[in-house]
Amino acid sequence: RNTRERLFLSSLGLSERPQPAGSHRRPVPSELWRMLRRSESIQARDSDPCTVSEYGVRGNIIRYVQDQVSLAHIEEQRGRACLVKQLFFNVSVLQPVELLSLAQLEIRLHWKPLRPAGFLRGPRAVSMSLSKVIRATLRGADPQANRRLLLSRSIRPQLEPAAIAMDLTPLADSWRKPGHNYGLVVELSPPLGVDPDELTPFLPGNAFPLEEAWTLPLIEASLVVVSLNPHQCHSRQRR
């Protein structure tokens, strides 16, 4: 039975039976449920299963690759304290045979809920930057020297989580080579004039501060990876 199971898993493109840890299972993203339901519809049965129409690319595998780093920290940069969150996506989960079609980074910022309405209407915005890490930083060295800026923008705090999406396909493809993935860094700086002592990062497990401290948001990130296994997506022969 084991041999047969291995053969069948191999025909499904899996080297072995997946063994999820279970304790950190996150809920299935609603987008994936929608895509599954759409693929089950009668109309979809005649459509090409090797094209992901939601992203407009070829592929038969859609992964929500989890960020492996859960902690953020406060870092002082040019006299300003800012929240720094490293991101690391293990793209080695893709098998060598798979062709990467798309890697889209999705960052969600969850603001402290129920802030006073006046604060939310305020003019002050947070600056966010996303950088790729090009090499490991030695202890005591300036981490900025090993980062290359990919995106910089200003974000207004809001009640709803803010979502930012960015195409990182070429970068994620380069991460597939062993020793090339040093991850990404997201930095959030409060507006000028905010006292660093007032800064309270909203981290998992932290209680919300009762006083009116300046609260930075919780950062959640995932990498949506679409790939194509050519062995499972042969072109149909003309009859």
């Binding site: 999820p20 279970g22 996150r26 049965r45 299963p49 595998i61 992964r63 042969h234």
Partner: protein
């Protein structure tokens, strides 16, 4: 040396219903959805003469003819899937990533000789 059975509508080549429940193979701990799928399978005979409803290839038509003349030396054509459709599976991988994967040719829709 197979026992020759008279061909009746019940043992003619056609798709038979088969529901595969992932629990039966112990895969429910990593497959999120669906819980199983209607896989079906092909079973039955391809007797001479092959009728159109049996979706025989030209080769199968000739093989049934030869089989009718020489049953010991030439086997009957086989009953096999001729139209399959895809399914999609949602599962957790070893890193607890959620994966949606589309598989071609998983559901047997139609059989032929």
């Amino acid at each position: 040396s197979a026992v020759h059975l008279p061909v009746t509508p019940s043992n003619i080549c056609k798709a038979r219903r088969l529901y595969i429940d992932f629990k039966d193979v112990g895969w429910q701990d990593w497959i999120i959805a669906p819980p199983g799928y209607m896989a079906n399978y092909c079973h039955g005979e391809c007797p001479f003469p092959l009728s159109e409803s049996l979706n025989g290839t030209n080769h199968a038509i000739l093989q049934t003819l030869v089989h009718s003349l020489d049953p010991q030396g030439t086997p009957q054509p086989g009953c096999a899937p001729i139209r399959l459709s895809p399914i999609s599976m949602l599962y957790y991988d070893n890193n607890d990533n959620v994966v949606l994967r589309h598989y071609q040719d998983m559901v047997v829709d139609e059989c032929g000789c």
